[in-house]
Amino acid sequence: MIKVENLVKIFNGVKVLEDISVDFEKGKTNLVIGRSGSGKTVFMKCIVGLLEADEGAVFYDNRDFVSMNFMERKQIRREIGMLFQGSALFDSLTVEENVMFPLNMFSNMTPGEKLERTNSCLRRVDLADINKLYPGELSGGMKKRVAIARAIVENPRYLFCDEPNSGLDPKTALVIDDLISEITHEFDITTVINTHDMNSVMEIGEKVVFIHDGRKGWEGTREEILDTADENLNDFVFASNFAKKIKALTT
């Protein structure tokens, strides 16, 4: 479980995040939703320490992350897998080298064991026979999968995904969502996913946190989200005309 308490982030005097507290539950897909620019990416980067929060605390299974020193944080980070908005694969390395990279840096496995582990992760994301290709030769959806494989290669306890299906067609997006959700349950990971895609919310949102203008606007499950009274959330959920018409028909 990851516990965030009263997180504040200020950029040039502007409060981008204001006093956000939330618990992300273990073994579940926790979704952070909100408009573009609402602060989702900044929120995630503050939790993992890529940005320093100005106030507040973050606990990884009761371990106080904010007050840790550099070496202790490094240890926690090795328990974190992260999927970036643009995949962030290393351009100069092949698919295989990308996935194997964390193992090469840290593990004491033999080369055979590393390859075995790499291939099993690539199989897990349904990629085969592309080991020797470079990221530049892959489609957006394949890159995301490779990035997922790289994120899980060291058996993380926590998985962070920033807009895992941005730039993908709805069908591929669904495949990626399901993949993340399956992996979360399979390995009992605490997963946090940033998204503005209502399809993802309805498909895999076990716990949903709505961020509006840098504040926590709402928190609940995907079942509750459709009959919320929160105006801002309603605005977000039924943003498309299609959704609005359906809502008008059903109520």
Binding site: L50, R78, F84, Q85, G86, A88, D91, M105, F106
Partner: protein
């Protein structure tokens, strides 16, 4: 950003670059790769430029001394000392600042804006050290060879000019380039080269590492990296010359 902030941030980054490496074996591999990318790939351009400059220096010296009473072998000596003292270290340094510097700044800058550097940090890797240290070490190890190559090839360029134009007897040139040879000049040039190598790699790396924004900023950082490393090279030239030759 003001000068002192910039300076401070550069030193903070260098502090991170030179902190304890993660896994020595991986660094050795990276250094070898960088020697290839930054060093071996520059041999061609260094040879081409050095041949031409060696030839031009020799011919210019010859035509400036036309019909004077100065002995012809001094033309060889002048060409040699120009190459040794200034050209093969500083000029080659400036050319490499353009070639290697823009390469480093844009590579690291692109990694920054595509979140590859964040990805390294998230894996618990010191990204500054992992990305920058191998480049600095590779250049400091290999650039002295580029300087030596430039000296040697420059002298051959001068000789070719002499032979092809008949500007002076080849024997005078060959005598001249050996006459009153000061080995310390080579040491001086190599010391400069090593300092330049540090500048050429660390300054553009600094600009690339701190890119914020998109492709446009990567381009800007690469220009800045080249401009500032060139200025610093000339400054270092002045200081080292005063320290070593005065």
């Amino acid at each position: 950003m003001n000068f002192f902030t910039l300076f401070g941030r550069y030193f903070i980054l260098m502090g991170r670059v030179f902190s304890r490496p993660e896994k020595t074996k991986i660094y050795v591999k990276q250094i070898i790769r960088e020697i290839e990318v930054l060093g071996l790939n520059s041999v061609g351009i260094v040879i081409i430029i050095s041949v031409f400059i060696g030839a031009v220096i020799t011919l210019q010296t010859r035509y400036n001394l036309e019909s004077s009473w100065i002995p012809l072998y001094l033309i060889g000596l002048t060409a040699r000392d120009t190459l040794l003292l200034e050209f093969s270290s500083t000029m080659v340094g400036l050319i490499l600042a353009g070639k290697v510097g823009s390469n480093i700044a844009s590579e690291i800058g692109t990694m920054r804006i595509t979140e590859q550097i964040d990805a390294l940090e998230m894996m618990g890797i010191n990204s500054a050290s992992y990305l920058i240290l191998p480049k600095i070490i590779a250049a400091m190890l290999f650039n002295p060879f580029l300087t030596l190559i430039s000296m040697f090839v420059g002298l051959i360029g001068g000789w070719l000019a002499v032979v092809l134009t008949g500007a002076l007897p080849s024997s005078d040139y060959i005598f001249g380039i050996q006459y009153l040879f000061v080995p310390f000049y080579v040491t001086y040039a190599l010391v400069k080269t090593v300092v330049y190598a540090f500048i050429i790699t660390s300054v553009p790396a600094f600009y690339g590492y701190n890119v914020q924004g998109g492709a446009l900023e990567v381009g800007r950082s690469s220009t800045r990296g080249v401009v500032y490393s060139s200025i610093l090279i000339l400054l270092a030239d002045l200081i080292i010359t005063q320290l070593m030759l005065a």
